[in-house]
Symmetry: C2
Subunit: 191 residues, 2 copies
DNA sequence: ACCTGAACACCGTTCAAGT
DNA sequence: ACCTGAACACCGTTCAAGT
């Protein structure tokens, strides 16, 4: 927000975390289209190119934001692996739906690169293992669930189908849950 | 490609179809990032703003391109509705995978607005009706299948998972088919 | 190493003017 | 109605210079 109080060699004390946080504020106020490096820099009170000292480019910033959002998806209880698998997907769905403008980016970009995405992936693999769906079949199953979840979140946030009246969020969520259970049944067998 | 041979009031004989075709050529050569109105205009040999005489804005152009791509998905045989439903989804998947840079846009934008998407939607509804899954349940089922298909195509074209070796297109396609059958079974019941 | 200032090569879109 | 020319308000990114 503040303008350049600094002269040529002065430091702003910037960090990667601060930049990501500023990017999320900018995203919240200005939307995805308004998420420019220049806008984030303005939010931080630095020159536009100052960001390049901490992140490679705009893609790297977007990836960092995407992963940061996944912090909201908590580790599920390890008791029942089938339930944990479902919970992690439902929480992811709810988190994504709260960030409508980002959902598309999750599908097009490498959604599983960041540490948060990796954390969730490890938990899912563990659950699948314990359910007897390890190895290659488990990989495919995990992938299918993730793709399905992000895809449905994308629908929930973006689409209004043709002549049809707009669907309520709760109806869409319910339909998401139904499909999710069909997929889980297919992957690990009926309960 | 050609430059402005025309003087101030001369017509270029542009049409919406020509613009969409030029946009698809530009997309093929320059990618999604290179699909600018200025690039398309250059491809057509007109001024950048000439496009505004035929389309509202860049979003409208992108929507037109997205729908145009779906022309490649043919009407399936009406004999077996369950098979037709599956065929239409598989053809859509294959078509989307052939247009990697567009897949993300299908999920974020209104994918079901254009005439081609509508054509496919009508066929799907008919199949679901004949399989005894009409009404609200059929709507949800259709949506789930579409979301799943586009989502999986997005994965197939964009993702390379974490430490894992890149997956072959045929493996991903096979996994897509498995999940699709689970969903169809869930929606219309086992065969 | 971190940041500023200035520049480069782009964008989408608007508006007046021409036929 | 359709198109050009020119402009406006933006972009991401690079590069030299400063501490």
């Amino acid at each position: 927000m503040e303008r350049s109080r600094r002269s040529r060699g002065e430091r702003a004390g910037l960090s990667r975390e601060q930049i990501v946080a500023a990017a999320r504020r900018t995203l919240a106020t200005r939307g995805l289209a308004g998420l420019s490096l220049r806008a984030v820099a303005a939010e931080l009170g630095v020159a536009p190119n100052a960001i390049y000292s901490h992140l490679d480019d705009k893609n790297a910033l977007l990836d960092a934001v995407l992963d940061d959002v996944l912090t909201a998806v908590r580790n599920p209880s390890a008791k029942n692996p089938r339930r944990a698998l479902r919970t992690i997907m439902v929480d992811t769905y709810d988190t994504l739906v709260e960030h409508p403008s980002l959902v598309g980016a999750y599908l097009t970009r490498q959604g599983s690169r960041g540490p948060e995405a990796q954390r969730l992936g490890v938990i899912m693999d563990d659950c699948l293992d314990r359910l007897g769906a390890g190895g290659r079949a488990g990989e495919a199953g995990r992938r299918t669930m993730i793709v399905y979840t992000i895809g449905y979140a994308a629908f929930a946030t973006g689409w209004t189908a043709d002549g049809e009246q707009p669907l309520s969020a709760s109806r869409v969520r319910r339909d998401f849950l139904a499909g999710l259970d069909w997929l889980i049944n297919g992957i690990v067998g009926p309960p």
